[in-house]
């Protein structure tokens, strides 16, 4: 080897700093406005901190957690609503995504247009989605009632977003509209990595469309499906735009997910400590679910 003189050594040391300088601004920003607030949530969760009742504020230990888990009936109700919400939105989005991405991967005329048109709702915000679908669901001048009345399926207009029977399905459909393009996009990207020659040899061997799909396409997409469902699951778990704008969690808390409940407690009821404890519970549940999901998926992979 060669001996380093001090001059070179200094230069070498300086060089070692360079990558950290590049990362510094982003790390500071994320530390101050992402990680610090996250940490403070854990801190607040141990306090009674209610702007409406300042006289009762103070250290409360695990009291918030005990109250939530033992006394709060609404918490368990929202837990169930959340399960229905995440499962309902993500599973349907995934299924539509699988179907449509396979259609859009075929060679056809106007493919570019059809792809762009399918991706379109991806660019639409939750609040606009809510507006558009509210106009569809409207009892008096909505498109859905107009069509159903004209076809003679119903006799009288239905108030889709305020009736207890239909409200949940209504917001799930609106959310699916906005969310399925995400799956189409990532699945299409993954489909493009499957070499055409595999499909050709399948055709030569006389395999039909369905068996090709189940034996070639689906196994290839597995990784993408796993990561896609995790990302989307977390996203739907957190996302309350559509719920907040269409129903506000009502009627009778039928559409109050955990995230919605958290916001209502923290902002509307000013109950910061309680909301913080809810947040901690929510994130813990989320992390455990993701862990098990990945474990199960990995396990089944080893089994194959």
């Amino acid at each position: 080897m060669f001996a380093m003189n001090t001059e070179l050594h200094k230069k070498y040391k300086l060089k070692k700093c360079i990558p950290y300088i590049f990362l510094m601004p982003a790390v500071i920003l994320i530390a101050v406005f992402l990680f610090y607030p996250m940490g403070s949530v854990f801190y607040y969760s141990l306090f009674k901190y209610n702007l409406a009742k300042p006289y009762a504020n103070g250290f409360y230990g695990l009291g918030n957690f005990i109250d939530i888990l033992t006394k709060d009936k609404l918490f368990y109700k929202t837990l169930w609503v959340t399960v229905k919400w995440v499962f309902g939105t993500v599973s349907v989005q995934l299924i539509i995504g699988l179907l449509i991405s396979n259609v859009l991967n075929q060679r056809m005329r106007f493919r570019g247009f059809f792809r762009a048109a399918t991706f379109l709702p991806w660019a639409v915000s939750g609040i606009i989605t809510s507006m558009l679908w509210s106009l569809i669901y409207n009892e008096h001048m909505g498109l859905l009632n107009t069509i159903l009345l004209n076809l003679g399926i119903i006799k009288k207009g239905i108030a889709w977003t305020s009736s207890l029977d239909t409200v949940f399905g209504a917001i799930v459909v609106a959310e699916i509209w906005r969310g399925f393009p995400f799956f189409v996009i990532i699945l299409l990207a993954s489909l493009q990595n499957i070499p055409e020659s595999i499909y050709e040899s399948c055709r030569v061997d006389g395999a039909g469309r369905l068996s090709t799909f189940f034996y070639i396409t689906l196994p290839h997409l597995k990784q993408t499906i796993i990561f896609g469902t995790i990302l989307r699951g977390v996203w739907e778990f957190n996302n309350i735009d559509v719920i907040y704008a269409i129903t506000g969690g009502g009627p009778a808390n039928m559409t109050t997910t955990l995230s919605m409940y958290m916001i209502n407690q923290g902002i509307k009821a000013n109950n910061f400590g309680y909301a913080a404890a809810l947040t901690v519970i929510v994130s813990t549940i989320l992390m455990i679910l993701i862990y098990f999901y990945m474990k199960i998926m990995r396990y089944s992979e080893e089994g194959m």
Partner: protein, 279 residues
């Protein structure tokens, strides 16, 4: 025989699914457009008209000039533009650092950036509210710009890294041998090649900021600082529900994302998957 089978397959596996998808995607947009062009008295008229007859622009004029919507519109452009700019600058720095150097903690940095994707970011609302209150910027557009930049940076930085990875390092090495220093290499070689990526990521960030709803609805109380999403929600809260102006406002608010989308949709398939899936 083979031909009919092929035709049937095409109908079932191609035409019908495509037709249903197109109807599903365009139905809500079509309906909002129809209502936005109807006269107020025609909207509630029975039977409901499927096309505006006669059509009118009065809803657009009303919502733009009478409800403060134009102000919300420019507020949103300002906030989204500055957030996008900040995200692009920070993301280039991060992406270049991660792509071109080997250093201690690199893996952890990547992990941290990816892990932020799993943060339930509603949990940030209350603590950020308190932080901004202490800083004295709660309710200002600045508080939104800081929030958006922070929340959208990690994903876009990872995305940007995949763009930088695509630039052959040999070009930079050659320039360095010719006597360029690091800064010259970045400004004269990397950034020009990266231009499409910069625009794509800027558009991603702009779109995300434009569409954000929960943060502004929680942080902004002052009507002067409303952004479009909050303004629309405020319109619903009025005593008299004005469907026409509401639909017109939605179409105006929708037009900007659709224009951006038209540009970035060709990056979507490679982009989203590179950032979101491969990591």
């Amino acid at each position: 025989m083979v031909k009919t089978r092929k035709l049937l397959e095409n109908i079932f596996f191609r035409h019908i699914p495509l037709l249903i998808t197109m109807l599903f995607v365009f139905m809500p947009i079509y309906w909002a457009m129809v209502i936005s062009f109807k006269h107020e008295k025609d909207i509630m008229k029975k039977p409901v008209q499927l096309l505006p007859n006669p059509a009118t622009f009065e809803n657009y004029q009303f919502v733009w000039s009478k409800t403060g919507f134009s102000r919300y519109f420019f507020n949103t452009i300002l906030v989204s533009g500055l957030s996008a700019l900040a995200v692009v600058i920070f993301a280039v720095l991060v992406a270049y650092g991660l792509s071109r150097f080997r250093f201690k903690g690199k893996r952890s940095f990547m992990m941290i950036f990816l892990a932020t994707q799993l943060i339930p970011y509603n949990m940030l609302i209350i603590p950020l509210f308190l932080i901004y209150k202490n800083m004295g910027i709660i309710g200002s557009l600045t508080s939104l710009i800081i929030t958006y930049t922070t929340v959208f940076l990690p994903f876009n930085a990872v995305l940007m890294k995949s763009f930088v990875d695509g630039i052959p390092i040999e070009m930079e090495e050659a320039a360095m041998i010719d006597g360029c220093n690091r800064m010259e290499v970045i400004f004269k070689i990397v950034l020009p090649i990266l231009a499409p990526g910069l625009v794509a990521i800027g558009s991603f960030a702009f779109l995300s900021s434009w569409n954000e709803y929960i943060f502004p609805v929680m942080f902004i109380n002052n009507k002067d600082n409303f952004v479009v999403s909050v303004g629309l929600n405020f319109l619903i809260g009025q005593n008299v529900l004005m469907y026409g102006p509401l639909a017109a406002g939605s179409i105006i608010a929708l037009s900007v994302p659709i224009l951006i989308f038209a540009y970035i949709q060709k990056f979507l398939v490679q982009g989203l998957s590179a950032g979101a899936v491969k990591g």
